[in-house]
């Protein structure tokens, strides 16, 4: 009797284990299929914009700017830059006239210590709103900054999925 019950228990354990493996495999299949299905729905945008920014205020080593963008996403732009000795980091938000917004994190490096200096850098698309909700991507930028007035002209090249 005892051996029979042990056998039954063993069979049950095997069945449960097999069921778990099948379930796991099915779940894995679903989860691995999910992103590709989701990715198919995502759109890709090659962003080529030029923005002209002007200083709105300073707070210690932080500079706040705003302006307008022309190109793929024409609209308004706001930016917050943290300045340090050799680089500038910050977030820039593009608000296209046709709705939504795209926010990028940027790291820029000035090329000289002159009043009007060129800079280059890279950016990561972090988030978006409206039609650009869940926006992600990366890119580069370059431009010119006037350190007397903090007027900035920047050209952005980025690939955005949303």
């Amino acid at each position: 009797m005892q051996t029979q019950s042990l056998r039954r228990r063993g069979v049950c354990v095997v069945i449960v284990a097999m069921a778990a493996v099948v379930l796991a495999a099915w779940a894995g299949g679903v989860s691995s299929a999910a992103p590709s299905g989701h990715a198919a729905k995502r759109k890709t945008l090659t962003l080529k914009d030029s923005a002209s920014l002007h200083l709105t205020r300073k707070n210690g080593n932080v500079i706040y700017e705003q302006g307008t963008a022309t190109g793929t996403l024409p609209g308004t732009v706001t930016a917050r830059f943290v300045t340090s000795v050799t680089k500038v980091t910050g977030t820039v938000t593009f608000r296209p006239y046709n709705g939504g917004s795209v926010t990028v994190s940027a790291v820029g490096y000035p090329q000289s210590a002159a009043t009007v200096t060129r800079f280059t850098g890279s950016l990561a698309v972090r988030k978006g709103t409206g039609k650009y909700k869940n926006a992600l991507g990366s890119g580069t930028f370059n431009g010119v900054a006037n350190r007397r007035t903090w007027a900035v002209t920047v050209h952005v090249n980025a690939r955005v999925t949303y």
């Binding site: 080593n61 300045t83 340090s84 000289s112």
Partner: protein, 276 residues
């Protein structure tokens, strides 16, 4: 009875703390290097100010020639975002290791590269005879070229009396780990023209970053116009425990001394009053 004894205990505790505080104060007074930093008297949080830095070398270490001076400023202080250092002073490397006999004003550097001005006292010990003569000099800190990972600096020392030697020293500004935002380094190598004749010991130095005496020039309407560049920008919020500065002085024998200074927070900008 209990209340009286408690009062006595509190009194003795206060007296003990006062004695300890006095001891700490006197210990600080005997520090080999002392640094004091100040903002403008009317400075407010969120506004631009000059930053006055005074370094004093105690007699105990005065007879040790310096090799390097490092000055770290607090994170959040707007040095790069200020209106200072809008031009680069680029001097040939050979200028940094000799006495400049005939140097033009600012050593030939553009006026828009001036970041700080000040004075220094040094002791000049003559090799022949060992006579010690105090020398007074004006010091100008100039922004240099932007190189890989740092901004160059030039320190122009214009000896006034009695020797009047003009010297240029190279330095740099780099980002610094928290709680500091950046660190200025000035290297002070032995100058071949001087080291055989005399040894120079720094006694004190005072530099005002963004001094109100600094004048920049710009073209406006076809004319060159002088203006006072915007000083160092203070954040609108005060860092905990005030603005912390640090000076590290390195000597030629390889030793170094560090001193810190905490500048209390200036008041926030007063709200505009609209009358009654």
């Amino acid at each position: 009875m209990r209340i009286r004894s408690r009062r006595r205990a509190v009194r003795s505790l206060v007296v003990a703390m006062w004695v300890l505080a006095t001891m700490v104060g006197s210990a600080a007074a005997a520090e080999p290097i002392r640094v004091t930093t100040r903002f403008d008297r009317d400075a407010t949080l969120g506004s631009a100010t000059a930053v006055d830095v005074a370094v004093q070398v105690d007699r105990s270490v005065q007879r040790k020639p310096l090799d390097e001076v490092r000055f770290a400023y607090p994170r959040g202080l707007g040095v790069v975002s200020s209106g200072l250092g809008l031009a680069a002073c680029t001097r040939p490397q050979t200028d940094f290791a000799k006495v400049l006999i005939s140097a033009p004003r600012l050593g030939g550097c553009p006026p828009n590269s001036v970041m700080a001005i000040g004075t220094a006292w040094a002791l000049v010990q003559l090799t022949n005879g060992g006579q010690v003569i105090p020398e007074y000099a004006t010091v100008t800190l100039l922004s240099g070229a932007l190189e890989q990972g740092h901004l160059g600096l030039v320190v122009y020392v214009d000896g006034q009396h009695p020797f009047g030697a003009k010297l240029a020293f190279a330095g740099e500004v780099r980002d610094a780990p928290a709680p500091y935002g950046g660190e200025l380094t000035v290297r002070l190598p032995a100058i071949p023209g001087i080291e055989d004749l005399a040894t120079i010991y720094l006694v004190s130095m005072r530099l005002t970053i963004g001094s109100h005496a600094i004048r920049y020039y710009e073209r406006r309407g076809g004319r060159t116009v002088a203006y006072h560049p915007e000083g160092v920008l203070l954040p609108s919020r005060c860092p905990r425990r005030g603005f912390r500065f640090r000076v590290r002085v390195g000597f030629v024998d390889g030793s170094s001394r560090t001193a810190t200074s905490v500048t209390p927070c200036p008041p926030p900008v007063a709200a505009p009053s609209f009358g009654r």
